[in-house]
């Protein structure tokens, strides 16, 4: 129960909501009444009042920022990551209306399956004259190597999305099909989480269909396809530069799938195998988020650098299920829309349940003439485009907006090669309320709905992704100018089932096997460990340097010069208050982490990017000396926050071991090198104190030895002390433990080369005396640790 408001009653939000005449609205029905569900939501908003509502919407945004939800935009500055633009008010759709959508999309999914199975199979639709051969033969999404290959699962389509809009007649229309690698389902989930953060109580009181059941059924279907003895189930991603990489990582984490890139895999005897730290492991199911033509450089696009050579051969062998099958992108061809009503009759002997945006393919004389005669009333675009008209700002335009020479050229082109053009009825969209400056305003909306093939047939996600235009223009074309996304609530009049992805009572717990870690991910984890540790070492040295600079205020003192020279050997210029070399290490750590987002908690990612942002932001302002000292302290604390999160929260899978390996290797190397430098014969006065400070061991030294530092005691503490977590020996002991626990670390009592090398280095230090550890020997020790890193790479990453 919500407490009744004690605030003075503000005018109802809805009283200022001004509809566009003649344009249907999602909240207000044609008779001017508020639709079911919306009245509850609006009453709740009025009760909260503007201040509380604003605070709650801010909470949703904060959640999205914290979770690191982003997408990449390819326009403008080379694929810059953008915050996810959430429109806070969900789009509400009544269950009765939803069942019409759901029914219609099920028919459509079945139809698409029948069409694609025919095109890659018997080809009766062409032979019967239903589909013109040119539409297929001229299409770059028609992948000839796949012709005749029956999918292992028996189906081409398993996961589709549909873009819908509500037309002026009030009915929902299909604007386009997404069958290649539909994106956005993960964003729909995140929208739901963010929106319910803000509106938890309202959501709880209303009967809104949950999304988890849909994902659960699809996940179960994916694992069922792998079979009881089957191989891995993975998501195939083009990599972290893709616009929706965040979503791939998010879905992988949510559904417990391995996130794989093309180069993680190879094909052995017709079977796709993933390179993991435990050797080659079979892959049985791939949920593909990569455009099909890039999947195999041998048989598909020969210039693809992100594919797996032999993938088509594996499909030919029927050893792997591809979700969706390679070649299904053909169904997205815009001109195909012109044939859908006919295809539906040819395949099912029935009309389409959901109408389709009227389309004329100019490859046929009568249709071409119609488009030219009605040029101004048409949306003209490329026939073979696979994007939606609303996502195609450069290629598609309203006939009435094209004039002069451009118009003449286009008409000439349509007459010369009409097959490359379609005319489409310009779509008018409905509006839905958005909250702007404390007011509700109507904005055009399209709805993306997802369908998944489950063991019980097609399942339609009860919800989806609403895309909301940035201006009040309700022609579909206006959506090209970008906008926001909103959650979609399907409102029931009865209580809904609450589902989660956790196992139900009495259900067998599914544990994914160890050794699942792809080699590329392990490599990135090592480097993440190394870079964060390198940052820490650099920060400690810079802090000690700047503190002395502040104290002594003379930069040419021997101790400062000696320190600068060391920093110079690791590409850090100490005369810069915020050295570029340090920023580069931080960027590298973030870059390594960004490639393995699926293996991270959002908190870990947030801590790391926070470090990066702080360093960047302050790098302009900071001055040498005490100001820089303070900054380095702040950054060290943030870094400790990241390390703490990882250490306390990361599951001790192989992944954690590699991260730990990277940290320990780097710390050992850094410590050996700085110790060599500061215990050298030519090291000036104050070097040993500096060393102890950098090694965070001033207090320990005082307790164990004496107040004044000696070379022997410093080396003893920072290199040979098995209990000091900063000493080289401590790193070696940890390394040995980790390396021996890795797959193949010890087999039948035999040590792996890396394990043997670690043991030998550790033994060497255990029996060494401080006096043995000359600067030369310490440098060699650093080199040996570097070689050890190479042995690990050779064993697990090649």
């Amino acid at each position: 129960m919500r407490k009744p408001s004690t605030r003075p009653k503000a005018p109802s939000l809805i009283s200022n909501y001004r509809l566009h005449p003649g344009v249907p609205d999602e909240m207000i029905d044609p008779a001017g009444n508020i639709r079911p569900g919306w009245s509850t939501l609006m009453a709740a908003f009025d009760q909260l009042g503007p201040a509380e509502l604003g605070a709650r919407f801010e909470r949703a945004d904060q959640y999205l920022r914290d979770a690191g939800v982003f997408y990449r935009a390819y326009d403008g500055a080379a694929g810059k990551a953008r915050d996810w633009p959430l429109a806070h008010i969900p789009l509400l759709i009544d269950e009765s209306e939803w069942s019409i959508i759901s029914h219609g999309l099920t028919q459509r999914a079945e139809l698409l399956e029948a069409i694609i199975a025919d095109i890659y199979g018997e080809n009766t639709l062409v032979a019967r004259g239903v589909l013109p051969p040119e539409l297929i033969a001229r299409n770059t999404e028609f992948l000839r190597p796949l012709v005749g290959i029956r999918p292992r699962s028996g189906h081409f389509l398993h996961f589709c999305a549909f873009e819908l809009g509500r037309g002026p007649d009030g009915a929902w229309w299909v604007l386009g099909d997404r069958t290649q690698a539909p994106s956005g389902a993960g964003f729909a989930l995140e929208n739901r989480v963010a929106t319910t953060r803000a509106l938890a109580d309202i959501y709880g009181d209303m009967n809104i269909h949950r999304l988890a059941g849909f994902f659960r059924a699809f996940r179960d279907a994916l694992f069922a396809q792998a079979g009881p003895e089957g191989g891995r189930v993975g998501i195939l991603t083009p990599g972290q530069l893709n616009e929706t990489y965040f979503e791939h990582a998010y879905i992988a984490r949510y559904l417990g799938l391995v996130l794989l890139e093309g180069e993680d895999m190879l094909v052995v005897d017709g079977q796709v195998m993933v390179r993991t730290v435990a050797g080659l492991q079979p892959v049985s199911v791939l949920w593909r988020r990569l455009d099909a033509s890039f999947a195999d450089p041998l048989e598909l696009r020969y210039d693809s650098r992100i594919g797996t050579p032999g993938m088509v051969d594996a499909l030919r062998h029927g050893s792997i299920s591809m979700i969706n099958a390679l070649g299904t992108g053909l169904l997205e061809t815009r001109a195909l829309a012109a044939f859908m009503p006919r295809l539906c009759r040819a395949v099912f002997d029935a009309p389409l349940e959901l109408p389709e945006i009227a389309t004329w393919w100019c490859g046929q004389p009568a249709e071409q003439a119609h488009v030219l005669a009605n040029f101004d009333k048409m949306m003209i675009g490329p026939a073979f485009a696979t994007n939606l008209p609303v996502d195609d700002p450069s290629g598609t335009a309203l006939g009435s907006t094209i004039s002069g020479e451009q118009r003449e050229t286009l008409i000439q082109r349509i007459m010369r090669d009409g097959a490359t053009y379609v005319g489409q009825e310009p779509v008018q969209l409905s509006t839905t309320p958005v909250y702007l400056d404390g007011q509700l305003q109507p904005r055009p909306v399209t709805l993306r709905v997802y369908a998944a093939r489950t063991e019980k047939g097609w399942s339609i996600m009860p919800g989806g992704l609403a895309r909301i235009g940035s201006t009040s223009d309700t022609t579909a074309m206006a959506m090209q100018r970008g906008g926001r996304a909103a959650d979609v609530w399907v409102v029931s009049s009865n209580p809904v089932e609450r589902v989660s992805l956790l196992p139900r009572e009495g259900e067998k717990l599914l544990r994914s096997p160890h050794g699942n870690l792809p080699s590329r991910a392990a490599d990135n984890l090592i480097w993440l460990g190394r870079y964060t540790e390198r940052c820490e070492a650099t920060l400690r040295i810079l802090r000690a340097y700047n503190a002395r600079l502040a104290e002594l205020s003379k930069a040419d003192l021997p101790i400062l010069r000696h320190c600068r020279e060391f920093l110079d050997t690791i590409d850090v210029d100490a005369t810069e208050p915020m050295p570029l070399g340090l920023l580069a290490s931080i960027d590298s750590a973030v870059h390594s982490a960004s490639q393995i987002r699926d293996r991270f908690s959002p908190d870990g990612w947030l801590a790391l990017t926070d470090l990066q942002n702080t360093a960047r932001r302050l790098s302009e302002k900071v001055t040498p000396g005490s100001d820089a000292t303070r900054l380095m302290t702040i950054l060290l604390r943030k870094l400790a926050g990241f390390s703490g999160l990882v250490h306390e929260n990361m599951y001790r899978f192989a992944g954690w071991r590699f991260l730990e390996l990277g940290r320990r290797l780097e710390r050992g190397m850094q410590m050996a090198r700085i110790t060599a430098w500061l215990t050298a014969r030519e090291a000036p006065d104050g070097s040993l104190e500096l060393l102890l400070e950098i090694g965070d061991s001033v207090m320990s030294h005082r307790r164990r030895y004496s107040v004044t530092a000696g070379t022997q005691s410093a080396i003893d503490l920072l290199v040979l002390d098995p209990l000091n977590p900063r000493s080289v020996l401590f790193q070696l002991a940890t390394l040995r433990e980790q390396i021996e626990t890795l797959p193949g670390g010890i087999e039948d009592g035999q040590l792996s080369p890396a394990a043997r090398a670690t043991l030998s280095l550790q033994t060497e230090l255990v029996i060494a005396e401080p006096a043995d550890l000359t600067p030369e020997r310490l440098q060699r020790l650093a080199g040996d640790l570097g070689a050890l890193s190479g042995l690990v790479a050779a064993a697990y990453f090649v």
């Binding site: 095109i119 080809n123 062409v126 032979a127 019967r128 004259g129 051969p133 040119e134 297929i136 033969a137 001229r138 000839r144 190597p145 012709v147 005749g148 190879l266 094909v267 052995v268 005897d269 017709g270 450089p297 041998l298 048989e299 696009r301 020969y302 050579p309 032999g310 051969d313 030919r316 090649v798």
Partner: protein
């Protein structure tokens, strides 16, 4: 004609290759009424751990190999015996360009030899307006499709210089066209681009040429390497007719076909993906002799 063919493809790698996959298309095809493969054997060194065969979309026989162990060279050897029948010279009952267009529209098929596959830009053969203009200029306006193809074949042979080394496999038809020189692959691809520019379906043929000419005939260009020529769809009744623009002749009993494609990419003798950092040197030797 009964031929014995020997082919060696040799690759030497600068740096050891850790795993590679290759698709090989070198064995002559059996084409009813044209040629018959009597026997063939393929040898691969080092012996591949994986070895499968399949037929690709266009019906070409493909050998797929996977080499897992590190290796510094790859040698593919083919020896084959092929019976090639003397072709029957085509009788020109072919339609004009505009009639051809209507005939194409009546082909409701996407079978591998359907003309629909061969009218449009393909992976290595973009539409080149300059080549289309050239084709229009050197061919008769009102001629039959066979006349047009013949005229273009002769024109390319006349205007282009055959020069080994002037181009490589990566040279685009547009580049070869602007230089007016190249080898069989360039001649073939320019002719295909020209025909497609005129709306005539044309495809790429990969194969071999007889090494030594019959007594009293000149030695054909390109006989010391693998060869490529063009096939043209001349309407329903005549179907596909093969032209060799490198030698300005119809492909006949001296031509041994390996396979068909839209361009070089569909039917290249060998394509591979290697895990390596270095470059490589390639060598090829071909002998096509009359069987004793």
């Amino acid at each position: 004609m009964l031929y014995d063919i020997r082919l060696t493809l040799q690759y030497d790698y600068d740096a050891p290759v850790h795993g590679g996959r290759h698709l090989i298309r070198v064995a002559p095809a059996t084409l009813p009424g044209v040629q018959r493969l009597v026997a063939s054997s393929l040898t691969i060194d080092p012996p591949p751990e994986q070895h499968t065969t399949f037929a690709d979309f266009f019906g070409n026989a493909v050998t797929a190999i996977g080499l897992m162990a590190p290796h510094d060279h790859l040698e593919v050897g083919l020896s084959a015996r092929v019976q090639v029948d003397d072709p029957i010279p085509p009788v020109d009952l072919t339609p004009s360009r505009s009639e051809l267009h209507a005939e194409i529209e009546r082909v409701w098929s996407l079978a591998p030899d359907s003309p629909h596959h061969f009218l449009w830009p393909s992976p290595r053969l973009a539409a080149v307006p300059a080549i289309a203009d050239y084709a229009r200029a050197v061919t008769p306006q009102a001629g039959s499709v066979l006349d047009i193809a013949q005229a273009l074949c002769l024109a390319i042979h006349r205007d282009f210089t055959y020069e080994a080394g002037a181009t490589d496999v990566e040279t685009t038809p547009a580049e070869a066209f602007s230089m007016r020189r190249g080898v069989c692959q360039d001649f073939a691809q320019v002719m295909i681009a020209g025909l497609r520019g005129l709306g005539i379906p044309a495809g790429y043929v990969s194969g071999f040429l007889r090494t030594t000419p019959p007594p009293g005939k000149p030695r054909l260009e390109g006989a010391d390497a693998m060869h490529a020529w063009v096939r043209v769809w001349c309407g329903q009744s005549l179907g596909w007719v093969a032209f060799d623009p490198t030698n300005a002749i119809l492909a006949g009993a001296d031509h041994i076909t390996i396979g068909y494609g839209r361009d070089y990419a569909d039917v290249s003798p060998i394509v591979g993906m290697l895990k390596t950092h270095g470059s490589h040197e390639a060598a090829q030797s071909v002998d096509v002799l009359l069987a004793q």
